[in-house]
Symmetry: none
Subunit: 531 residues, 2 copies
């Protein structure tokens, strides 16, 4: 079955960091390297030596990691047109990185050679040949990427193949076909790879796809089905524009559905963990609806459907979510059935037996709240507090007494002012605090934290990161009920809370209060006054 | 070229609303219907009659819309096993919706028939036949969806095809193959469709794909390449779990790259607008990296790259972003901005010439506001006011002087009180009014109307019917900028307005003020003091 193995080449640390908003430290890059190695990725492209001090530091430090599965690759371009390869500092930087693998890209589109490189076609072939053959003396493996290969092939197929042939003649170990602009569709990828093979480039082919046409995953797989043995991509598909091919979809598709060997099968259970880990370090969210690894990838709505999925999950799930380390999520939405609540309690580690006499009343209470407008699917922290409170499992941290917010603007001022006051009771005395804020919710959040922080210093770690407001009963406009969802985080987790009221401030207040109490519960904080 | 036409069937309003966190009003659904109609979508699936009061209201109201391009479809299942078709209330509800198209799904997976429907295979065939043939008497077109068709085919191909054959025999106009669990890959889709055609189901085939394997776009297109003439999907791929097939990728791939006719070619330029419009109304964001329509889909990082892209964009972009109404991000696309604004002005009946010397400044102003967080796709009334104001075409109805809102609650009371005061100037004197409200925005709206109504009695007709709040810069929580969208209506139209501020009350206030001024403009109301 050797022919069924596909080498996974991860470029999260290089191409992936081109995504908007990404800014990783050397430490982040090293931690990601270790994670990908443990996951079983075959190649990790670490950066472009000489392009910035961070990448240089990375290549210095990565040598000290004891990697078990991954080979580190340094990335760079062919030599410049007007320099000899041994004179080109960019090439020397690659050698200095001392990686077991060097990946070189060369232009495979005639238009690019002429207009972007401003050289002639023949010279570009020499640049490819020189660079690859020179580097082969200094490192174990050279991978050649034909940049813009598919566009180049469509423009001048003969020349595009010549570029690959030059790299092959120079001893490149792998020839990777790149769809750099991401515009090629799978039917073209298939046709072109077949033709390339007919033209003599038959072995050790790879694919490097971008997602501009929303087909990067299948572009990569169709290349594999046609003989490619190496797939380039990034974790979560992070990358410039619409991103690179998403390894978090390609790996399970190849391994679980198409019978290929990618990372070790037992590691695929860590897929969601790897996805979250990388997302957290590069500071980009994993979209909830991302296939395989998103939080909602296996979420079920609707009562009949939800109870059926528990009985026979195969009927409603394309794979068992545990195979990729994900889990089934039953959305508690309008359907506070018994099995849903029991399932939820188990998930939240709340002891609740199917025969518990309080169960019908709890279900009834949730049903009432949902009818009123509460939505717990994106606010599990509030659901947990509700259930704990109902079952007598929620400590009393403080008593709320009153709040007040004032928002006022004169048109001679640019912005309104927002001032909040909060009064709470702890240990038999009142804390009465006031705060300004950018807006009313911010002011309330600050005033409440101010009142609590001396007794509960861990609340300083809580940050409100998202805030959503919806009308629940749409027909009556601003007099209707309003649902506020707040997402909070601390250093190691995120949670959602909800509030509902006819008053947007009251609804926000409820969600803010829940967010802070949840933090106390989560940290197992002892209530003041308890010994 | 008639054979190259693909019918686009949008199920955003039904399957799309299954996405986590989506909750649309009847008003939203009607506005989306109008937008999709104007865009040129062939079929709009509006909901499931009888499943909830909202969908019933929708089908009642949608009859009053004057649609130019789209046929409305009502969605439902085959009759229940133990009822005759004419006795089944679910079927009668479909007829009552009085749509030109009814779409019926029936189980095409033997396992589902036995385990979920708990009936036998033969009976299920009868249910399909009865339902389709009965409904054909009451409506122009019946579309049949074979639910779980691909999984069913893999389990029992003979039976799965029999289900389709029953629908065909009963007179179904289209036979749609659904990959309900989203686990099927394009190579299987291709193989199975070919076999289905060999088995006699050759014409009027459709595809309904979900994105659980990250291949829904190509699953849909590969079906078209193999003869399917109808594609089901949703705007932005919104939908349960990992979403439905994304029409915002399928339409440009088919129309711009594969030579098919989908929506009218000139409308594809509105793709991004439609994408944003729907996203704003269903209150889900469009991911920045979404192909074709995401804000970063054509974003270029890096200086050399950016300047090269200006010289010859074909080198770095798979299509011209303007073809889908998107824009290059590095480029201050003066020209694109200009033609857009001129186009908009024409649409809004605002006299504005291409050579108007004020145009660059207007474009600049709109650009600044958009950078700040304003979104005009779902708030054209605010855009119209902005343009009129800038061009000196907006009458001065009143001057704003100040507002103030107080929200306060003691925990001994059930609800907070909200009190607003507003001070405005008209005809050289001040109106200073106060009002309570269910919440702060309601109180402000009432106080402002109170101040204006004696001079502008038509404002009594304005009703705020929806209210949406979204964080613009999501990373900074309650201290971030907040965008409020308000939908208003009077007896004969609806309009959207927008406000942005760090303060939710200030943002709401802006949208409320715009809503009332827009009503005055719309009615050609004469400002007080003018003779």
């Amino acid at each position: 079955m050797m022919e069924k193995k596909v080498l996974i080449y991860d470029t999260t640390l290089r191409d992936g960091t081109q995504a908007e908003g990404v800014n990783v430290s050397v430490e982040d890059k090293l931690r990601i390297t270790e994670k990908l190695d443990a996951f079983g990725i075959h190649y990790i492209e670490g950066g472009w030596p000489g392009s910035n001090p961070k990448d240089d530091k990375y290549f210095e430090e990565v040598k000290n990691l004891k990697l078990k599965n991954s080979k580190i690759a340094a990335f760079g371009s062919t030599r410049r047109a007007y320099l000899k390869v041994e004179e080109d500092k960019l090439i020397q930087n690659l050698i200095k990185a001392e990686t077991p693998v060097i990946t070189i890209f060369g232009k495979a589109w005639d238009l690019h050679v002429i207009q972007a490189l401003k050289t002639d076609l023949e010279k570009n072939l020499e640049m490819v040949f020189d660079t690859v053959s020179y580097l082969k003396k200094y490192t174990n493996e050279v991978i050649f990427i034909g940049e813009h290969f598919f566009d180049g092939y469509k423009s001048n197929s003969e020349y595009a193949v010549k570029v690959l042939q030059s790299a092959k003649d120079a001893g490149a170990d792998f020839i990777v076909l790149a769809d750099t602009n991401g515009g090629t569709l799978p039917n073209e990828i298939e046709k072109i790879i077949k033709e390339v093979k007919e033209k003599g480039i038959k072995e050790n082919l790879g694919i490097h796809a971008h997602n501009d046409s929303d087909t990067a995953v299948w572009n990569s797989i169709v290349a594999v089905l046609n003989g490619a043995v190496m797939v380039h991509g990034t974790i979560n598909g992070f990358g410039e524009r619409c991103g690179n091919a998403n390894l978090c979809s390609i790996i399970p598709n190849l391994s679980l559905k198409l019978g290929y060997e990618t990372v070790p099968k037992e590691n695929i259970r860590k897929l969601k963990e790897v996805s979250n880990f990388v997302a957290d370090l590069v500071n980009l969210p994993v979209p909830k609806n991302m296939p395989y690894v998103g939080d909602s990838a296996f979420a079920h709505k609707g009562g009949v459907h939800a109870s059926a999925v528990i009985k026979n999950s195969k009927l409603y799930e394309h794979i068992n979510p545990e195979e990729v380390g994900n889990k089934r999520k039953v959305l508690v939405s309008d359907l506070a059935g018994k099995s849903n609540i029991i399932y939820k309690a188990k998930e939240l580690n709340i002891p609740l037996d199917e025969k518990d006499p309080r169960l019908p009343e709890l279900i009834n209470k949730i049903k009432q709240l949902e009818n009123y407008g509460y939505h717990y699917e994106a606010a599990e922290a509030s659901l947990e507090l509700l259930m704990r409170d109902f079952l007598g499992l929620l400590p009393k941290y403080f008593d709320l007494d009153a709040y007040r917010v004032l928002i006022a603007r004169r048109y001679s001022d640019k912005m309104p002012i927002s001032e909040a006051t909060v009064r709470i009771k702890m240990e038999n005395h009142y804390e009465h605090t006031a705060s300004l804020g950018n807006g009313p919710v911010n002011a309330l959040d600050k005033a409440l934290k101010k009142a609590l922080i001396s007794k509960y210093p861990n609340l300083a770690e809580v940050e409100l990161i998202d805030y959503k407001v919806r009308i629940v009963n749409e027909s009556s406009g601003t007099a209707a009920k309003i649902r506020v969802l707040i997402e909070s985080k601390d250093k190691d987790s995120r949670w959602g809370t909800v509030g509902v009221s006819e008053n947007v401030i009251e609804a926000s207040w409820q969600a803010v209060v829940d967010s802070l109490i949840y933090k106390l519960v989560k940290d197992n904080t002892k209530p003041v006054g308890e010994s």
